[in-house]
Amino acid sequence: MIHEQERETGAVRGELVPVGIFAAIALTMPFWFPLIGGYSGLDTKILIFVIFVLGFDLLLGFTGYLSFGHAAFFGTSAYTTGLTLLHYSSDIIPAMLMSILVTFVLALLIGLLLTKRTGIYFAILTLAFASMLYRAALSIFSDFTGGDNGLTGLPSPTLFGQQLHGTAVFMLVALFAIVGFWIALRIARSPFGLMLRAIKSNQERLAYTGIDVSLYKLWGFIVSGLYGGVAGSLMVIYEPYVATHFLHWTMSGEVVIMAVIGGVGTLIGPMIGAAFMMYFENVASAWIGEQWLLVLGVLFVLIVMYLPGGFVDGARRLRAWIRHRRSGTDAQSPAEKDTHG
């Protein structure tokens, strides 16, 4: 009984509080975000990338596999949503179901081929698959995908016969982001998440204990891809147009940067990284002017060199430093914190 209660409070503290805080921040975004210079719609885009980067972090931060082709899932799903909206119905439910299915199959196929690969070979193979899809979308499938122009002329998406606009799309995306964060948190704290982290730290030893490492890796990859798929689908619902760069490898690079500057291996970090990147790209670039990419590049290099743990690591160091200052000479090592929440 007591154990049960302890577990309950643990679950409440570990899951409900972070999800609640995130939900509060996300849902109130339309009210405070314009105050710091964000245009309406950017908040939706930020939350879409939050979903994308959460999935990416489940792969890189937990399983330890750098995918350099995550745009494949984002872009394929975006094209599937676009094509379903265009040719089947403007309702978003079939479009989203279809794109989740297609992303699942794609992640399964790529995952099956890649479960035995590690390190740089894994990264390059994912890059090769994503680049192949990009090139194929521009050449072989250009009759369906609209080639270089992207997929245009989509009807405005509807849900139960209602047209989706501004706030409704934001609410939909926020809902997905909150549920996505909650699921990611559950995964991080589940036995499955533990397996993924075990793969990251030493997969050979894990294999010696008789566990089918490939299977966990495959599922980690698929779950990660599905997050990308949901994000890609929402992107087209937010803005009914499929740009070719959704599939381009610069998109994969962007999500890598978001995760790294935020702090790989934590869930909060990459989300902050995504928000920071999008904010920087769209708002701060206006103050800095044309050179904003240069500033971003320098910032990225500085973070990688001096703050390998990203913003989350920075916050932890700052906290340790303040505590150190307060407690005077009483040198105290920063407590090991569970950062997976």
Partner: protein, 166 residues
């Protein structure tokens, strides 16, 4: 091409001088790099550092400095490629991006840590691109297709060494 305007050249092969220079420069660069890495003390240390950098540090060798030099060399060779390759392609600010992914693929198809592998892989990809020029759809994806097929059959690339960046 030239024969149409200068019929007396029929029978001779017309080949731009610059491309011949390019062939020679690339041959010399590759041989020099291979020689440096394979036959000098510096190359030996760098190759050992690839296998086990920690061990070299224990032996009192400043491997970081040598890696920095190798990084510089790599950048310099890319510079040579830009210098001699520029006149035969278009030059534009994003030109590096266009070559970035294919050069990743060359290294990985050839196998990490192998200069001959990289040469074979670049010949393979270059030939594939040239011979598929007739079918533009296939030309777009051929290098990625080759990369996928090669890496699935030979996980470390054509001549990759065990334990390098895995």
């Amino acid at each position: 091409m030239l024969h149409e305007y200068l019929p007396f050249l029929e029978g001779f092969v017309v080949y731009p001088m610059w491309r011949l220079i390019l062939v020679i420069v690339s041959l010399v660069t590759v041989l020099a790099l291979f020689g440096l890495l394979q036959f000098t003390r510096f190359g030996l240390v760098v190759r050992a550092g690839m296998r086990d950098a920690e061990m070299l540090r224990f032996l009192g060798i400043n491997i970081e400095r040598r890696f920095a030099i190798v990084f510089g060399l790599g950048a310099g060779i890319a510079g040579i490629a830009g210098l001699f390759g520029g006149p035969v392609t278009q030059v534009y600010p994003g030109i590096g991006m266009a070559y970035l992914v294919p050069s990743f693929l060359v290294v990985v198809i050839g196998g990490m840590g192998s200069v001959p592998g990289a040469v074979i892989a670049s010949l393979l990809l270059g030939m594939a691109l040239a011979f598929s020029a007739e079918y533009s759809n296939i030309q777009q994806i051929i290098i990625y297709l080759i990369a996928v097929v090669v890496l699935l059959v030979r996980p470390r690339g054509l001549l990759g060494k065990k334990g390098v960046l895995e």
